[in-house]
Structures are given as C-alpha cells and as structure tokens.
Homo-oligomer: 375 residues x 2
C-alpha cells in the first residue's frame, strides 16, 4: 500500500480500477455484439496503464486527440493509432516522423487544399499517409457533406494517401433517451455509408470506415459497412454521461479527492480545496433536467457514497464552494474533512492532473498511474 | 533564435516579454505611489523566469496558490512566501517541511477549530507558523466577519502562530468603472483595518495586513494601516481584465498560437486546433457588455494585431470553432493559416501549458520559460 485516501495530498485525482474494468467489459461486450471492432479513444485517459486495459493487445487500434498522445502510445508499443483531429500542414512533419518510425498512423482532414499539400508532402518525403476524409454527419463541427462535391475531390487530391472516411456524431450528446441515441447513431452510420458508397463508385475503396461517440457506439442498430467504432469517455464515465444515460452513477470511475478548508454554517456552505483547476470549469450538466444539474460536481464520502444535496456551486482557481440544499449540522464537514467530487465531464477534469491514484473499492491506494497532458 | 511563431508546434502558449515588462512596471509604479509594498501573486504565471521579473529581489514577498508553487519558488531562492488559500490540516505536514527548511512561509485560515489544530501541531513539532486570519470583506468566499466574534477567538487559538490578517475583495471583479474599483478597494481596506484594530485592542498586533486583487490593488485611495497588496493577473492581462478596464487590449501579454485545421465558407466559420484544453472553458467575458463578449477568445494575426469580428464561439477538447461576424472571403484563413488567440482569463488558459514561448514584439521565439502546474 502506497497511501490511502485518508492521507494523500489534496486535491488529487482518484481512479477506481474495479469500476474501470467493469466499464471496459460492458462496452467491449456491447460493441462486439454489433460485429464491429472498437477503437478505444485514449484522449480521456491519456495513460498507458489505462490503455493496456482498454486495448490489451498492442496490435489493437487506438485513437488519440494529440500528436503527443500518438508519440507516447507509439513509444509504449501501440502501432495502429488514429489521430482523430484534423491534420493541418503544421503537423505534417511530426506525423511523418511517426510514419518513418514505423507507426501505422492514421490521420484525417476535410479540405481539398490541405489534401493536395499532404499528397505533395508525402511524395516529397517518399511516404504514404493513411488519411481518412472527415464527414459531417450533422454536428457541423468538422467534415464535408457525405453527398457534396468536396468528398471525391479530396479523395482525388489525396491519391495513394487516401484510406477511408471518419465521422463523429457529436450531436448525440443532446440525446436524452436510448431512442435518441439510436437515432443519432443511425444518422452517423448512414452518413458514413453514403460517403463510402460514393467514394467506392468513384474508384476509392475505403479501407477504414470509422464512426463513433460514447453515446452512439453502443446504440446504433446496424453497423453494416462500418469497420470500427470509436469512444473514450465510456472508460471512466462522468455526471454528464450518467445524466444522459450512457452509464449509471455507480459506474463513475474517476473522482477528485479534496479537503474542506473553510465553512459557513450560516450560509449553509463550505469551501473545498478543489476549484476550477482541480475540477475544470465544465458545467455541461447545466443542460440536463434540474435534478441532474451538478454545478461543478457532486460530492461523495471517502468510500464513494454519494452525499445527497451537496454540489459544488461555484469555483475559483483553488477554491470550490459547496452548497447544501438542506441545513448543515454544526459539526458536519468540519475543516479537514475529506470528500470526493464526481466530475461533470471527466476529460477536462483529468487533464489538470498528472497522475491517477488507483483504488479498488476501498481507501487504500494500490498504484499510481501517470498520465500525459499538453501537445 | 530557437524558433518562430511561423514554425512552432501548435497549439502552444506565447508570452510577449515587452508587454510583460510594461505591465509589471506600470503596476509597480502605481502600487509604490500608494506607499505600500506589492506582494506579486505567482498563481497566474507559475514560472521562475516571470517571478524574477515581478520580484527581482529574492527577499521580496511573493504569494502562491498551491504548496507546490511554494516549494518550487522556495527551491528557487524565494523565502517570504504567502500561501494565500486556506490551510487545511491535511497540508500541515507539507507546510511544516517548508518551515523547517527555512522558508518564511505565511499561511492563512478562517476557522477556530483548524486554528487550534494548527497550534497543537506547531507545539508538537516545535515550529512557529506565521498565520493570517482570513477576513470576509464582502465576497463571501472565505473569511470571518471583521466585526464578528470569531476573529479574536481564532487569534487566541493560534497563539504565537498568529501573524496578522488577509482579505481579498474578489467582488471587485464585478467592477465596471474605476469608481467601482475604488469603492471595492475602500471596502477591502476598511474591512482589514477594522479587523486589525479589533485584534490590536485584544492584544494581537498584526505584523501583516494583506489585501488585494488586480482591480483593487491600484484603485484604493487610502492604504493606511495596510502592509501589503497582492495581485497576479496584472502581469499578463486578459480579455476580462481589459473588459473591466484594469488594462488595455494592447497590454495582453499571453496568447495561444493555433493553426486553422478546417473551414466552412458556407457557415462563415473555421476550426482551429486550440479548443477547451488549450484555451480553457472560461467564458468570463460573457458577463460584460455585448461588445466585450469574446466567447472563448478573440483572434489576432501572428504579429498580434487584433482581427475584428472573429471570436472562438465554441470549443471541444481539441477543436475551437471560430465564427466571423462578416462574410469570409473564399481565400481567407485557409487550412494551415496561423493565428493567435487572446484568452478570456489567462490563469486557466496558461494552466494547460507547460511552457511559455517568449517573443518580444516579433515572431522570433527568443526563449522558452517552463511553468509548473498541479499540486
């Protein structure tokens, strides 16, 4: 035993390995049942130890959100790595270094000019990129229309660096029911199939047809024609995911350990040492129905039991203001009391921390797993 | 020359040294004119190189927001370090280690129970803490009332670990005019004077009477009885500070370098590779008048010239959606174009980055200054 939640320096990030395992198993089973392979997105965890559980086979496909992650997971033995954010020309050299080193790096883009530059760069450097054309399936973030003129033009511009298509139904986060998610998933898969069929008709067969988000990955009925689904948040879960029903509250694997540093019984509030930096300023649950709105996070005791009626209502850099919806007893939550905060959105919360303190259903810290941040 | 803004990997954090110097000089002069010493708060910069400019004398007082900062700046030679966030019992051992190593560490708290625990811990460890009682001057974050019963009780509980008082008029961030700031500053100073006078009458002379925030530090007319003012954001400035008038737009020293990775002329938008992680999810300028609302940041060209009509309107983990309020020319901001984003609130923006890329009015990167993060 390295330490315990009773003694760790606060604030810090805690990860329950048992919950992580269950989340991974549940998702793996659900995706496998759809006859498609899962490409775990490591943008949430950014940790080799988590990756080894989510993708135990080093030959397995993984996705990343930064080239730093691609370099880190490649150094750690992964090969089939999809950098799932549009590749701009400024990143060609770093991507090329990975390709030369032997990474089966997959990149994506959605712009004919950029595709032509990439093809020229690849030729000049005697490299072949494996590039997916990003399709907009309705989120209107990135991507070209599956039925528009840009699609085939980009494939032509890419030449032998063309490898397929990718799309992300991020609008599925507005789902409030399994039926919503399933519908968004169909939209996502249909956009991908439409684009792949048009490309095939133009002579560009898609080796990779990649779709996914945590809500749609396990909600889409038909994944015919899809070669892989991507998801990342499912590993840890968070209050927003629980709020939209992609996991249960009891599945939340990550929390922030904190200490009470000030209290005001008059105002029915107390302060914790987890503020905007330790929790992030994400307030995504504010878009959910009132009973699910968690401010900057809900509170648990050290054993992970939810403490009803308490939420972090305001944050400053290193202060979090916890408001109770019921009168606080004079001796409740004294200065020095330790609590755990469940995050609204675990990706930004985790990104403030450099290490996961691993527990497994108890207070003993059984390991420390580093994570990377930055670019 | 290490690199240039034309070639750095994106996204990354850029700091203009000339602007930093001017901000420091302007603030130093304004505080000195008030006949009080400045305790620069290093929570924004978290960088030894910035500290050396803000507090060139290693004997100068500095403030920090985490014990990790205290340890880092102490290792770097600073001695007079105020950890300006309430000290909970879980942090006594780390604070004690700093005291034993010779740091003139100042801590603060606002709770009689915690004060008694600290006094007992100090006695047991044969240490004397220098502890300030935190006063609530109207922000209602932390602190006891300057005229309430807890004040003297806490001083008694602290015994010889009592050193004075501290207060922070954080409500001054709702200032929208110099008159507002001055009024908040008077409130802050008056609360401090009231508390100090009551403590003196009870036999507890305040060695330290510490006040401050970036808006009040240079707006308060009378600082009689105040021994020091604290401020941190003034070093860099940000869109919120410019919006409330504590700096000019041209003073903003920090920005995020980014590359265009996708564009949609139809929707009058483009995507940059600086999203929620590189910029933070802070939207503090949303509380300002419409012309000052910056979304997640305003855009500049590589030479730091503001590009009117462009703002980051939405962010995902690694994507920022820039919306133009005027039609984008077909060849404007092509994929690969480089821009700089001015941050809403520079503290969280900087906290996602591990290094400042230093420029001085041009694109050449003349140095790299590391910064620390975490706890």
């Amino acid at each position: 035993m390295i330490a315990s939640l009773d003694t760790l320096d606060t604030p810090c990030l805690v990860l329950d390995r048992g919950k992580l395992w269950r989340n991974l198993a549940r998702f793996d089973t659900a995706v496998a049942a759809r006859g498609v392979r899962l490409r775990p997105h490591l943008k949430t965890a950014k940790s080799l130890e988590v990756a080894r559980l989510a993708a135990p086979d080093l030959a397995a496909p993984v996705a990343v959100s930064t080239l730093l992650e691609a370099e880190y997971f490649f150094r750690s033995g992964y090969r089939d790595i999809f950098y799932a954010v549009g590749l701009g020309p400024g990143k060609f050299p770093r991507a090329a270094t990975l390709l030369r080193a032997g990474a089966h790096l997959i990149t994506c883009l959605d712009d004919a000019g950029c595709a032509a530059q990439l093809a020229a760069f690849a030729a000049q450097n005697q490299l072949t990129f494996r590039t997916l054309i990003e399709i907009d399936c309705g989120e209107h973030r990135a991507g070209v229309a599956p039925d528009g003129p840009a699609l085939v033009a980009i494939a032509r511009a890419l030449g032998n660096s063309f490898a397929g298509i990718t799309t992300h139904g991020g609008q599925s986060y507005s789902s409030r029911s399994p039926a919503d998610m399933s519908a968004y998933g169909e939209t996502e898969a249909n956009a991908a199939r439409t684009a792949a069929a048009r490309l095939a008709a133009a002579g560009f067969a898609c080796e990779v047809v990649s779709v996914g988000s945590s809500p749609t990955a396990i909600s889409t009925n038909s994944l015919a024609g899809i070669t892989e689904v991507r998801a990342g948040v499912y590993m840890f879960g968070d209050l927003f995911q629980a709020g939209i029903g992609t996991c249960a509250l009891d599945d939340l694997a990550a929390s922030v350990l904190t200490e009470v540093i000030s209290r005001s019984v008059d105002r029915n509030t107390f302060l914790i040492d987890a503020g905007a930096f330790a929790l992030s300023k994400d307030i995504s649950t504010a878009s959910l129905q009132p009973a699910l709105q968690a401010g900057y996070g809900w509170l648990c005791d050290l054993d992970g039991r939810l403490l009803p009626g308490l939420k972090v209502e305001r944050v400053w850099q290193e202060h979090g203001l916890v408001v109770s919806d019921r009168p606080l007893a004079a001796d409740a939550f004294p200065v020095g009391a330790r609590l755990r905060v469940l995050p609204n959105h675990v990706c930004p919360t985790a990104a403030s921390h450099g290490v996961y303190h691993i527990v497994d259903g108890a207070r003993a810290v059984i390991a420390e797993w580093p994570r990377i941040n930055g670019w």
